[in-house]
């Protein structure tokens, strides 16, 4: 045991000193590792930030983590495909869910007309008190007030739509839609609020009114289009999803966000793959230099290795010593790279303005501010790939060194 400890500390000292015998080479290699590790972490944090933003935005716009609706509603969002407001045991379950965040909604296609223009819209009936929990709508209000009750007679429209309709806060608009018997129903609303969406397309499309007012207008008292449930974290909704599915009346369709918007689901699922591919590519580019450095370090020391072998050092210990040297090199490089990444990501945490490509980002479903997001799992992935694969690629040169024939090595020039 004592001998082992001695071996270890001697090997460590040997490796450390060997590393600095050629400080230029070690320095350059450290630079390369640091740049590589920095790029791995920095890029990953930017991509994570972007995808996270897209997912949050996307889920806010669906909205909700889980939607409960008529089986035909997603395909044909008509007033005919409505469901009863939750009642009895099902309502009791919704009241019990951990997040306490759920709301009912009405969603129907409608036509809105100002004095000057007419547009097709998506008319949404909300429960104002619960809305803040399921979508971020109240925070998006840029002028006027939010709806005050389920019977509020006002309407909230997007800034872009107001512009298109040539109307403004306080003015009246007429909203037309159908009741379940295909009769055209219409009603005047006063614009009480204007909102600005992060994705401009939505501003033109979604118009919000109070739920009970719309029930009355559309003649669907006691009925809604959807029930929206929001869990604690969209990444982990399976238990809630199962629970809701079990308790929801059998004739309703229960869908999780990843089933409703497959693009979001794809982004979410592919992200881990993207990160892994990126990390591996950078590692491969680094590995050539790493092996090169070790091969050179060994080549310079052939005589010396022969000598210490002749003096009784076992080949296994030579292997260990070289692997230790490479591990030390990798560890210092990782330290530098991680430090560099933290130092560059920190100042960007308040957001990176990429509004020059805002409309392009909107096409992808992301907003024009990029918030890098450093996750511990990404850090762990980058660091473990570098250290594990790094030591693995060092085995071959180290093994060749350990296999040297002492007599020949001593006589080599």
């Amino acid at each position: 045991m004592a001998a082992h400890r001695l071996h270890f500390s001697v090997l460590l000292t040997l490796s450390w000193r060997n590393l600095w015998r050629n400080h230029r080479r070690t320095g350059i290699m450290l630079g390369a590792i640091a740049v590589g590790v920095w790029a791995m972490i920095f890029m990953t944090a930017l991509m994570r930030g972007m995808v996270d933003d897209m997912l949050n935005e996307g889920i806010h716009n669906l909205p909700g983590h889980i939607q409960i609706q008529h089986p035909d509603f997603l395909d044909d969002p008509s007033v005919a495909n409505s469901i009863a407001e939750p009642a009895g045991e099902f309502e009791a379950l919704l009241q019990r869910i951990e997040s306490k965040r759920w709301a009912t909604r009405i969603r129907v296609p409608a036509v809105i007309a100002s004095e000057r223009e007419t547009r097709g819209i998506n008319l949404v009936g909300i429960e104002p008190a619960a809305e803040a929990d399921v979508s971020g709508l109240p925070e998006l209000l840029s002028a006027g007030r939010f709806l005050e009750s389920r019977k509020d007679s006002g309407i909230i429209i997007g800034a872009k739509l107001a512009e298109r309709l040539e109307t403004r806060l306080g003015k009246r608009v007429v909203v037309m839609s159908q009741d379940p018997d295909n009769n055209i129903r219409e009603r005047g609303f006063r614009i009480v609020g204007i909102y600005r969406a992060k994705l401009p397309g939505l501003e033109e499309f979604n118009v919000y009114a109070a739920r009970d007012t719309l029930q009355q207008l559309l003649r669907i008292e006691g009925r809604v289009s959807q029930i929206i449930v929001v869990g604690e974290d969209y990444r982990d909704i399976e238990p809630l999803y199962r629970q809701v599915r079990q308790q929801a009346p059998a004739d309703l369709q229960v869908r999780a966000w990843y089933e409703i918007d497959t693009y979001l689901a794809t982004m979410f699922n592919m992200m881990d793959g993207f990160v892994l591919v990126w990390v591996i590519i950078i590692f491969l580019a680094l590995s050539f230099g790493l092996v090169n450095t070790l091969v050179m370090a060994i080549f310079e020391r052939v005589r010396e290795i022969g000598l210490i072998q002749a003096l009784g050092m076992r080949p296994a210990l030579i292997l260990y010593q070289i692997l230790m040297e490479s591990t030390l090199l990798l560890l210092i490089g990782l330290g530098l790279g991680n430090g560099l990444a933290l130092a560059t990501i920190k100042p960007l945490e308040s957001g990176l303005d990429i509004s020059v490509v805002a409309e392009g980002m909107a096409m992808m479903g992301a907003s024009s501010m990029l918030y890098p997001k450093l996750t511990s799992s990404d850090l762990l992935l980058a660091n473990s790939v570098v250290i594990l694969l790094g030591v693995l690629t060092s085995i071959l040169p180290a093994w060749r060194a350990a296999k040297l024939d002492p007599v020949r090595a001593l006589n080599s020039t």
Binding site: D76, T118, R119, T262, I282, A285, N292, G360
Partner: protein, 410 residues
């Protein structure tokens, strides 16, 4: 003399064969990766632009100056059919078509939906947009026919109508009068773009003008260029032919779909970040190799200097070695990259989840990288430049060499 230097450089390179191959290996790896991903990028950008523009907006549109920001009924172009014909003659280009557009409430006997109603020139529309070809049930509008309509598949489903069923539409005309009509569904198109399939319908332009009290006016003249590179030339010729810029302006695809170029820019920026990291890593590799090879030859260089060679000659030798190494990496990297890319440009390339991504950007669900001289050489040439740049420091160090000391070095 020259051939001696060349031979010397070449032999020096192989004194440490393994080291040279490892450095060249890093280049080959990076170069083939760059060739593949740049080809893939070029291929998908071209396809993204073509598919997005061909579907509907065309490469250039002539519009009223206010129409782009505020697509309103009243911002019209006068005599649109005659002007479109004039443009066809002037530009000697057939793929030019006139359109008018308005909002209407479409009703079947079961349902009503707000739609974007388009009046199109049925003869020329198929030349500027892929929509007519996307009719997968029934047929496209007949030229000049009245009271026919082609609608999107989701709209048809939501209105619960099929081929031969009647629809009525209701909107407001240019003079604020009621615009109404009853039309028969003759075709249903499926573009795969939900927004269009849900809310778009097309009728004949003449019928649209009658219904919406537009006389001979319309809203846009859509031009599809034979190739995207022709757009600038066409823009210049069209602008020169416009008499009154306060009434009519040409808009190119950048203005019509600003998201497209920006999405490409955003993608390009993040891709180049990755490429530059790869290039820097290769440069580090070269720097390391060349610095080592210079340091270990200190004695040798000392001797050569004592024999009368100047530091500049030695520096040239080192740069020559780097150049040879780089050329090797360049050739092998491009070859390998081209082989991989050529194979994938034939069989196509896809990854799990690509289908969902593809729909969002108007791409097919398999991608085919586009090999071009530029996509083959752009990345590798930058890698080569980076490598040569990295070798400058070791080469310059030779200036500091003192022959006597150098010859004594271990």
């Amino acid at each position: 003399m020259k051939s001696v230097v060349l031979r010397m450089a070449w032999r020096n390179l192989w004194r440490h064969g393994r080291r040279t191959w490892l450095t060249v290996g890093a280049m080959i790896f990076s170069n083939s990766l760059l060739v593949f991903s740049i080809s893939l990028q070029f291929g998908s950008y071209d396809m993204m632009i073509d598919n997005s523009l061909q579907t509907f907006s065309g490469h250039i549109q002539l519009q009223h100056p206010s129409y782009l920001d505020q697509p309103k009924m009243r911002y019209t172009l006068a005599d649109i059919v005659a002007n479109a014909q004039k443009l066809r003659d002037e530009l000697a280009l057939e793929s030019i078509s006139a359109r008018a557009s308005g909002f209407a409430l479409a009703s079947s006997n079961k349902r009503s939906h707000g739609i974007q109603l388009l009046g199109v020139d049925a003869k020329h529309e198929p030349l500027v947009s892929t929509f007519p070809g996307l009719v997968n049930e029934g047929r496209y509008l007949g030229p000049g026919a009245q009271e026919e309509i082609v609608i999107g598949s989701i709209l048809a489903r939501n209105l619960k109508v099929g081929i031969g069923d009647e629809l009525s539409f209701l909107g407001s005309g240019l003079d604020e009068s009621f615009a109404a009509g009853v039309v028969t569904v003759v075709g249903i198109f499926e573009s795969g773009i939900p927004d269009l399939d849900r809310a778009m319908a097309q009728i004949n332009l003449g019928y649209f003008q009658d219904s919406f009290a537009m006389q001979r006016a319309g809203h846009s003249i859509v031009i599809r260029a034979a190739h995207i590179d022709d757009v600038d030339g066409l823009m210049a010729r069209i602008s020169a032919g416009i008499d009154d810029p306060s009434r009519i302006v040409p808009r190119d695809w950048n203005e019509l779909q600003p998201g497209l170029r920006q999405a490409i820019q955003a993608d390009m920026t993040s891709a180049w970040f990755m490429y530059i990291v790869l290039i820097v890593l290769v440069a580090f590799s070269v720097l390391n190799t060349q610095l080592m090879s210079v340091l270990e030859r200190t004695r040798e260089f000392g001797t050569m200097m004592a024999l009368g060679l100047k530091p500049i000659h030695l520096a040239r030798l080192v740069m020559l070695e780097t150049g040879m190494m780089t050329a090797l990496g360049l050739l092998l990297g491009i070859t390998l990259g081209a082989l991989i890319t050529a194979y994938l440009s034939v069989v196509g390339f896809s990854y799990p989840g690509m289908e969902e991504m593809a729909v969002k950007f108007n791409l097919p669900d398999r991608m085919y990288p586009a090999i071009s001289p530029l996509s083959l050489t752009l990345g590798p040439v930058i890698v080569a430049l980076g490598s040569l740049l990295a070798a400058i420091y070791p080469a310059l160090r030779l200036n500091r060499l003192q022959p006597i000391e150098a010859m004594r070095a271990v």
